[in-house]
Amino acid sequence: MTKEDNQRKVVIPGEVIVKGDNYLPGDGTEKRGEEIVSIKYGLSEEQNRLIKVIPLSGIYHPRRGNVVIGKVENLTFNGWVIDIGAPEGAFLSLMEVPKYVNKDGLDEVMDFGDMVIAKIWSINKRGIDLSIKSRGLGKIDEGIIVKVNPNKVPRVIGKEGSMVKLIKDETGCNITVGQNGLIWIKGDKIEDELFAKKSILFVTEKSYISGLTEEVKKWFEKEKK
């Protein structure tokens, strides 16, 4: 791979991506002698001499600052345990709820099976801590939830949110994309929500196409007739 040619390519574990001292190993890569080797199956990418591999499949790997959608799995005396599809359970503490909660009435705020939008506030050895102290976070009361492969989330969002903006504009729905692959759709009519869901599933199906936004625009034109 030369400097001009920073096109993405599929790499497999153990494959040499570049040779030479001019590059730095990033996520999903390892430096062995003079070579930078992939340790994951995914797409390799170069940015400012930093080589990284974006995984294409597998489970969701939580990162700090991610907005995720999860299901309340358990109530404890000082918070909620939430399943966000990561290997570890995530904990939402009472302290991270922006209003007063009676310690005997945790279930009145969120009960088993409730869906919640939260932000990953920190990841430590004990587990993942969540927060709902920002705008747009909190319990979900209405709308529908669509599950997609977590690795397809960047395609659903698009470059700087272009894809999700397009879907929002075309369907008139409010959409929140969780980094863990759960997507919340809320529209005025159930038909709108189902239409938005259909378009998201179309995006995930065609996620390998380049110039996907254009393709989705065409799809909307066809579907709207």
Binding site: P13, L56, S57, P87
Partner: protein
């Protein structure tokens, strides 16, 4: 010994059976793959990394790999009893040992990666097909790996070494009989697994490893192709 050694199915001594590989065959698994040598077909499904349960089995220093090799009851001519047998337990453990050296399992403390290998159709070399499929499935599950592994069985029929034994060759009875040597190697020629029960001279074992090295290169290409071409078809 003789140049024109006849194999039962007419292959050359260093010729593998027709291979095929595909990833993403089990939609509900986190990673999955199929690998076949001729009539031997293996499917591997990977679940995880997930939290180890029960908790007392968790290892806070590194993750755990669990393998499960299973021959499906219709995979051979005489129906085999379903469930674990002494043989399948042994091969499960062998597959684990073959895969563990390339897996960067230290990245997943307190977690477990489950690999389920199922043999759909057996015509010898099932453990090799299983390991090849498992390696593809692990890569497909997005697990950090130092390298890929490829596995092949080298046979010694009387005194002749052959690559990729099939059932007829496994039951070879002329001369010294048959010895089966399954070998697993990484793509940079390091051995992660070698099994041998039978008689073989030092020199011949070296030749066998050399043959395996060549065969593993071919298998690696098939595996590489399967992973690179899975993009686009996959949902």
């Amino acid at each position: 010994m003789t140049k024109e050694f006849k194999r039962p199915d007419g292959r050359k001594v260093d010729e593998l059976r027709k291979m095929s590989a595909k990833v993403g065959v089990v939609p509900n698994a986190d990673g999955s793959a199929m690998f076949s040598f001729g009539d031997t077909i293996a499917i591997a499904a990977v679940y995880g990394p997930k939290k180890m349960h029960p908790q007392h089995k968790q290892n806070p220093e590194k993750g755990t790999l669990r393998c499960n090799y299973n021959m499906i009851s219709f995979s051979v001519n005489d129906r085999i009893r379903p469930g674990m047998s002494r043989r399948s337990m042994e091969i499960s453990e062998i597959s684990k040992w073959a895969l563990e050296p390339v897996l960067m399992i230290d990245n997943y403390p307190n977690m477990v990666v489950d690999v389920h290998i199922n043999i759909l159709q057996a015509n010898a070399s099932t453990r090799c097909a299983g390991i090849n499929a498992a390696c593809l499935a692990l890569a497909h599950a997005g697990i950090s790996m130092k390298n890929m592994v490829s596995s092949v069985s080298i046979g010694k029929l009387d005194k002749q070494l052959v690559v990729d034994v099939d059932k007829k060759e496994e039951d070879w009875e002329e001369g010294e009989g048959a010895t089966d040597i399954p070998i697993t190697m990484t793509s940079d020629d390091k051995i992660t697994h070698l099994q041998l029960d039978g008689k073989i001279t030092n020199k011949q074992l070296k030749d066998a490893i050399e043959l395996a090295r060549k065969a593993c290169k071919e298998i690696y290409e098939v595996q590489k192709k399967a992973l690179k071409e899975s993009l686009g078809e996959e949902k």
